[in-house]
C-alpha cells in the first residue's frame, strides 16, 4: 500500500484528518481473535437473514457469488487503536441482501460461525455502507481475517465487522453482542471515539 487513496466516496483527504482521534496508522493487517478460528466449508456455508416475523432469507455460497458484486475501497479502524487506509474488498452490498426482506425492525444482530455476535442499527447496514465480503486485496479472504466471508461496516469500529459471518437477526429491540455486553460501546463511531460504554 503506502499510497493514500481518497476512497470510493471521493472525499478529498485534505478536508479532514486521515485518522479518527486516538488511532495510529498501520501498514500490516493485525489478526484479532476472541477464540479458535472456525473452518467453514463452502459446500455447507450459508448466510441467513431472519426477520422479526420469523421469515428467513437464505443464500448458499454459489447464490452469494451470483449476486451483483461491489469492490469497496475503505479505511478501517480497530478499537485497539490501529487504522488501515485504502483497503480493497469484494462482496455483496447489504442493500442487495436486504432488498427483498420485509421488515420493520430497527436493529440487527450479526452472528458468526464460532459464536461471535455484534449488534448494529439496521439503518447502518443500508445506504451503501455495509457489505458481506469474501475477497481482500484481490485474494480469497483468509480464515484468520474472517473467511470465507465477513461483514464490512467500515464507518464503525472494526469489531462491528463480524468475521466468519453466518447471518443477521433483525430485531425490534436492540440486543447487545459479544463485546457490547462486556463494556464496549453500543454503536462504536470511531470519529466520536465511542470505544466504551458511556463514551
Amino acid at each position: 500500500m503506502g499510497i493514500v487513496s481518497p476512497g470510493f466516496q471521493g472525499r478529498p483527504r485534505t478536508q479532514e484528518p486521515a485518522l479518527p482521534p486516538g488511532q495510529y496508522l498501520t501498514e500490516d493487517f493485525p489478526v484479532l481473535s476472541a477464540g479458535p478460528t472456525p473452518r467453514v466449508s463452502l459446500d455447507t456455508w450459508e448466510f441467513v437473514i431472519s426477520a422479526e416475523n420469523g421469515s428467513e432469507h437464505r443464500w448458499s455460497w454459489q447464490e452469494l457469488m451470483a449476486l451483483p458484486q461491489e469492490t469497496p475501497m475503505v479505511d478501517i479502524h480497530c478499537v485497539t487503536r490501529w487504522s488501515k487506509l485504502g483497503t480493497t474488498w469484494q462482496g455483496v452490498s447489504l442493500d442487495t441482501l436486504l432488498a427483498d426482506v420485509d421488515t420493520g425492525a430497527h436493529f440487527a444482530l450479526a452472528h458468526s460461525y464460532g459464536g461471535y455476535t455484534t449488534n448494529l442499527p439496521l439503518d447502518d447496514l443500508r445506504g451503501g455502507r455495509a457489505w458481506v465480503v469474501h475477497t481482500f486485496d484481490g485474494a480469497p479472504l483468509p480464515a484468520e481475517h474472517g473467511g470465507p466471508a465477513r461483514m464490512l461496516v467500515p464507518h464503525l469500529y472494526f469489531w462491528k465487522s463480524a468475521k466468519w459471518v453466518r447471518g443477521l437477526r433483525l430485531k425490534t429491540m436492540d440486543e447487545p453482542g459479544f463485546w457490547e455486553t462486556a463494556g464496549y460501546h453500543d454503536y462504536g463511531d470511531p470519529w466520536r471515539e465511542q470505544r466504551y460504554q458511556g463514551d
Binding site: L32, G35, G115, G183, R195
Partner: protein, 97 residues
C-alpha cells in the same frame, strides 16, 4: 500464521489482581456450558482481541471476559457457574446452638 494461539489461564493473574485479591491461579472454576470443573490456570486465554477472553479447555465456551478501559474494567463471568477459592482455615468453629 493461520491459527490464533492462546495463552494459559495463569496470564489472567495480573489483570484479575486489579479487581480482586483472590489468587486466581489456585482457584477452580466450573464451566456453565459443559460442566467441567478445573483450574482457572488451565483456561485458554485469547488476548489478541479488544479484551481478554478465557475459554474452557474442554469445550471452548467462553468462561471469562475481561475488558480494561483506561479508567474502568468490566468482568463478565456468566460462563462460569462458580469459582472455588482456597481459604485459610477458620480460627474458631461455632458450637452447636
Amino acid at each position: 500464521m493461520t491459527e490464533m494461539s492462546y495463552l494459559d489461564g495463569n496470564m489472567l493473574d495480573g489483570p484479575m489482581h486489579e479487581l480482586f485479591t483472590v489468587d486466581l491461579s489456585t482457584a477452580m472454576g466450573r464451566c456453565e456450558n459443559c460442566g467441567m470443573t478445573g483450574s482457572m490456570a488451565s483456561l485458554h486465554v485469547y488476548s489478541h482481541a479488544p479484551g481478554l477472553v478465557g475459554r474452557c479447555p474442554s469445550c471452548e465456551a467462553v468462561m471469562v471476559r475481561l475488558v480494561r478501559g483506561p479508567d474502568r474494567a468490566w468482568l463478565d463471568m456468566r460462563g462460569t457457574t462458580y469459582l472455588q477459592v482456597p481459604m485459610p482455615m477458620e480460627q474458631t468453629f461455632p458450637g452447636p446452638l
